[in-house]
Amino acid sequence: MSIIDLDAPGKELLLMGNEAIARGALEAGVKVCTAYPGTPSTDIIENLASVAKPMGLYVEWSINEKVALEVASAASFSGLRALCAMKQNGLNVASDYLLSLNLIGIEAGLLLVTCDDPSAHSSSTEQDSRPFAKLADLPLLEPSTFQEAKEMTKWAFALSEEMGIVCLMRGVTRTSHARGNVTLGPLPSPDGRKAWFDKTRQRNTHPVCQKHDQLHRNLIRLEEIFAASPFNQYIGPERPKALIITCGSGWLYSQEALELLGLEDAVGVLKIGTTWPLPTTMIIEKLEKTPKVLFVEEVDSFLEGNVKELAADFSGQIGPKTFFGKRSQHIPFFGEMNADRVIDALGKIFQVRYQARSPRYEAQAAEVAEKMLPSRALGFCPGCPHRASYWSIKNALQLDNRQGFATYDIGCYALGRGPAGYYLLKTGGAMGTGTGLASGFGKLASFGFDQPVVAMCGDSTFFHAAMPPLVNACYNKSNLVMVILDNSTTAMTGFQPHPGVGRNAMGEEVAPVDIEAVCHSFGAKVSVTDPFDLEGTKQKMLQALEDPVGAKVVIMRRQCQMLKGKEEKLPYQVRVNPEICIGDDCGCDRLCTRVFKCPGLMWDNKLAQARIDEVICVGCGVCADICPEKAIIKEEIR
């Protein structure tokens, strides 16, 4: 249960940055909240969904980010404050509409929050979403602390409303997906406002040039507003030897780095919370007083480039400066920030030597790191249906023997690019890309292409972006096999429902969209299988691979074990019979541990036999079906 609707102004709580954003939206009187799930942004809407009924909100998991922005815009046009959240890749999807919506303008406050994932902890890219603000000429805010995430969110609605345009906010993993102290503010009382669209006004992009011009005039007004914003803050001496200009997570890292180096009295830190457009006067005033500037930001050199642009405009006034940052390679071009990276950059600038630990300790630590730390490759959970699906697909492609391979998109099943999926996945990228690529490969026969191509797709991804490429394949008579790994949830982001599940974010029961019927109506040949039926799944794959005509869809359907395990007891007690397992003498090349690689199995080096790790095993029993000697025994639990 979420605590974000606690009606206790002044109370201090430990909140995740995303919870603080959700709380800020509630304090601002938000009414409609939409998103497609994506780490590290998911918790914003998840929290709002859990308080939707008591707080009188409408919250939805939209089928993709573009639709999410459209649904939120409809609310804004009708006079209701709205929030739309997404991860960095999601903004690419939503940008098609965003780059019209900037010209169209809004009515009630509309906040679009994007959470970036520097270092790509849970992402396929570490894209910096901020250039979209510059591209769309829209205001951009970046919180540095948890409290600020709440305050900024609240303010963003008012700003959006005052300017009549969408306001953008950018979180990163370490502000959105981290936790810290937040003091609650008051919740507004319900205003009972009737939603209404004023049809005397047309809301569109025309006249385009005039509206584009207005956007640029807005930026001038925004600069004035931002110059007085408490979200831009300076700490340090009046005339610092160097100035750190930072935003987001860099604010706390920079302060900590200066403390560790004892440079607090020499170096100042200017934190910018309003990163587009920049508060020009404030920045120029600070630049005038220092000879050196270091930029600390995640991921790209957005702030760095924009401040340098200002410095060029005001070069006569501020004089020559030396700039340090990504371009000077004092800060790495990639990955997330931390205090050590700032220490490293400052050390180079000021020729200060900093040692976190003694050389002796470093040497000992390095030796342990080199010799004693087996890597932890990511894999599918014990009992995951995907492991069984990949097993059957691998075997079918081997039997087919025409150098077949698989394409993919984004989701748990993308781990199949590594050992977890036997390296079957050869190319992918965005949501729905697997099917789009397969649709293309499937048209190359006239150029001599004769490899079968399998497009791997998740159930949630199917609704997000894989239906259009499947239609494309059917319409253009492409020869492909699409596998829909239907685990009946959006698993990777924490089990959000989708249109195939039969439930929505408001907790309402809805008729589930029948994936089978949808594919069938497009003209695809559809079959359905339970991935735990290894032989049946392999046969259905073989049939699909051998059929030379058109789009074949194989739906591999079994609920995600992480969800299923909560509802049902383990089906099997699994053990290895040491009398039967003959270890390396078997000739199976340790099929269970070396090839199948379920983490619930282990290899007992002393006995030279397989064993079950009873702490990890969830009792799915699939390994019993792959053991050629039948040494793995599954016994049904009554």
Binding site: L14, H121, Q364, M492, T593, K597, V615
Partner: protein, 203 residues
């Protein structure tokens, strides 16, 4: 406990699925309730099980600290898995770091497949000793299995952490946090696990 100290850097580490994130959240809540600034940064390979997961918990009486502990600045490491204790020490440890470690390994996939080796426990012990001031060993998973579920290992480890008295947080204060988050049977088993952990911290 050093009464002069006004900030603490704690790392809880383990493997995805061991209850690491919940443990750090509960400890964080307890400290915020006591009036401390608490920052938690979670580092994980991805949302699935099997990867290394580490939570940085930073407690300060003065100000909000950043979500990541700088290199070599961990005061306490609670490891739900032995090799993960070593992994964290190599980057965040220093000669004064205290380690509380669960003795039960979780083998990585590449160890299961025979591609990589998991170090012998005696070697792990030796290296833990070299890289820290003090190490407490807790057979948390074994005890948790006896109590009915391996997931209780995390609460046993918190019990051990509070027992060694390195943080300004009492067992009673933490019990109150637990009772705000759980109820009924779940609260009862978690309180039992906490109590078990208290008895199990051994050098």
């Amino acid at each position: 406990m050093n009464p002069e100290k006004n900030f603490y850097n704690l790392i809880i580490t383990g493997v995805g699925g061991q209850g690491n994130v919940l443990s750090s959240q509960l400890i964080g809540q307890a400290f915020v309730h006591k009036g401390y600034f608490t920052t938690i940064g979670e580092t994980y390979g991805a949302s699935q099980r099997g990867g290394s997961v580490m939570s940085h918990i930073r407690i300060s009486s003065k100000k909000q600290l950043s979500p990541l502990i700088p290199k070599g600045k961990a005061d306490i490491i609670v490891a739900l898995e032995p090799v993960e204790a070593l992994r964290v020490l190599t980057h965040y440890g220093n000669p004064e770091t205290v380690v509380i470690v669960n003795t039960r390994p979780i083998y990585p996939v590449d160890v299961i497949s025979g591609k990589e080796a998991y170090p012998e426990f005696a070697e792990i012990k030796k290296s833990l000793k070299t890289l820290s001031r003090k190490v407490y060993y807790v057979s948390a998973t074994d005890q948790a299995m006896e109590m009915g579920s391996p997931i209780l290992g995390n609460m046993i480890m918190i019990g051990a952490l509070l027992q060694v008295n390195l943080l300004p947080l009492s067992m009673e204060e933490f019990r109150q946090t637990l009772s705000k988050n759980f109820n009924g049977k779940r609260l009862e088993t978690n309180l039992q696990a906490l109590e078990q952990g208290k008895k199990m911290a051994r050098v």
